[in-house]
């Protein structure tokens, strides 16, 4: 049994008087891709923010054996690489400068003066996310698919032990969805804990080592994809039925109809 990298015990978050997270406990080992699924508004993004220490929460969160509360903002930034939804970039900066922001937590705040190690991390991340050819293009001129790959490269460049990716495959065509999930899975194989929020149960079932199912601010099911996403869970949480099969040794779940 590998020691867990990220543990949460009794995590609660209240936002605007409403309890968004209720008593979340989890313990996740490095070297795996975890999919976090659940209907809209169940608190998946809030859980990400709480785990990364971006919003205050009750309960205990430990990362690498250290309590999150004892870590400074900069220390948290080196442990969690966070990819928010939407891939917003407000200025038309060149792709390589965006990716280089992944080195910001390591003190490399000026992309035109990167130390050799930082430049190498940026180069590798751009290669892994397949954006090396776009290095000098202004990010605002790119297509949605290209932008999301740039955002992914920025997150990979942090070289953090935990990657939190919030809907990294949203609005991507099937080819790019698979590319992104494969890149994230490959990253997890380097002893990184990758957690991905997705609404695509098919992608979750196929690529994840572990699936976490959230419903109404609670973690209601977790485990290997076919167990965590059992017929009963899918019916209760998502109120749908699903076609279930196995193809080339990986689970296939296709959402279908009312329960």
């Amino acid at each position: 049994m590998i020691a867990p990298l990220l543990t949460a015990t009794g995590v609660r978050v209240r936002l605007g008087g409403r309890e968004v997270l209720r008593d979340i406990s989890l313990s996740l080992a490095p070297g795996q891709l975890v999919a976090l699924v659940g209907p809209n508004g169940t608190g998946k993004t809030t859980l990400f923010r709480a785990l990364a220490g971006l919003l205050p929460s009750q309960g205990n969160i430990d990362v690498g054996g250290q309590p999150l509360a004892s870590l400074s903002l900069a220390q948290r930034a080196r442990r969690f690489a966070y990819l928010p939804q939407g891939h917003v970039v407000h200025w038309p900066l060149p792709v390589q400068d965006i990716v280089a922001l992944g080195r910001y937590p390591h003190g490399a705040t000026d992309p035109s003066r990167l130390a050799a190690a930082d430049a190498e991390a940026v180069r590798r991340a751009m290669q892994l996310a397949d954006v090396a050819d776009l290095a000098r293009r202004p990010v605002t001129e790119l297509s949605g698919g290209e932008r999301s790959r740039v955002a992914l490269a920025r997150v990979l460049a942090v070289q953090a032990p935990v990657i939190l990716a919030d809907e990294p495959t949203a609005s991507l065509d099937p080819r790019h969805q698979i590319d992104v999930m494969q890149t994230l899975r490959a990253a997890s194989r380097n002893n990184v804990l990758v957690i991905v929020v997705t609404h695509d149960l098919g992608l979750a079932a196929r690529f994840a080592d572990t699936v976490l199912v959230m419903s109404d601010g609670r973690l209601v099911s977790q485990g290997k994809p076919d167990q965590a996403l059992s017929e009963q869970v899918i019916a209760e949480v998502f109120r749908i039925s699903a076609y279930r099969a196995e193809y080339r040794d990986e689970a296939v779940i296709v959402p279908w109809d009312g329960p």
Binding site: Y82, G86, V88, H90, P92, L93, Q96, G102, R136, R154
Partner: protein, 346 residues
Amino acid sequence: MTDSQAIAIDGAAQRRAGVLVMLTCLVILLVLVSLGTGPVWLSPVEIAKALLGAGTDVQQVIVWEIRLPRTILGLAIGGILGLSGAALQGLLRNPLASPSLFGAPQSAAFGAVLVIALGLADVRSYALPVAAIAAAFASVFVLLAVAGRNAGLLVLILSGLAISSLAGAATALVMNLSSNPFVVLEIAFWLLGSLEDRSFRHVMLALPFIAAGALVLWRQRDAFRALSLGEEAARSLGVDVGRLRLFIIIGVALGVGGGVAVSGSIGFIGLVAPHLVRPLVGYDPARLLAPSALAGAALLLAADIAVRVIPSTSDIKVGVLTSIIGVPFFLYLIVRERRSLGGGVL
């Protein structure tokens, strides 16, 4: 990274360095012209002689007592306005942000006018900049509090309009209640914004605050680049956004308040300067600060030279000139940003 990419990066860095050198030369040239321009024209050689203590007594008095303080103030105030505009645009990720659109100079002017009307300005000289800075701080603070964290253009500009109107009304009230007509006249002219007849006493009054404000803003520059990804992503990269916001408010208030305290309100330099340099140095908000400050200094020096050269029956105030040029520019920017203004920013 391939060699060609590495060279290309160097090329961009070289171009930015080239632009900085060019802007610096332009500012130096304008400083010389500013020292030489007036009822008595002086050549660069005469200026240099006077500065070094040679030349005639009259030339020395003209350069040291009359034109040097005015030029230093033009340089410093133009620079801090350009820097403040670039910093606010970086903080809010918005090309229409600027101190004057947010009511900061108008509020600073109110603070200063209050002190003048109460007769405190003569007794304790630092009361003027301190009041201006406090009022500027309050205005930017209130604006950002009203507009909220992810405010769109429309909210920011409407809030700015409200705050500058309030500051204007408060200023009018002070003048209205003031019993001494000479004080009112003095305030009215002062409000127009001018660098005329300023002495080294004014320089000493404003410069420490402007320098402190510039330093505060300059030190935040790297955070602006991270902020390009939005506040949440910036926080996840280790940027303390709340602290950054506070520092920007303090920096803008110190700089703009300190400047307004001696010059009166000079608008639109903070809006125009970053736009002029963006095509030259790119959009990176961190790399925009230094060129914007230089462009702001050049703009105000040029405007202040222009008011001395333009033939007119009475003096044109430099604040009037910058607004007359700045407001059409603002309209042009609104036309350019029309789509995002109309597109559901509320």
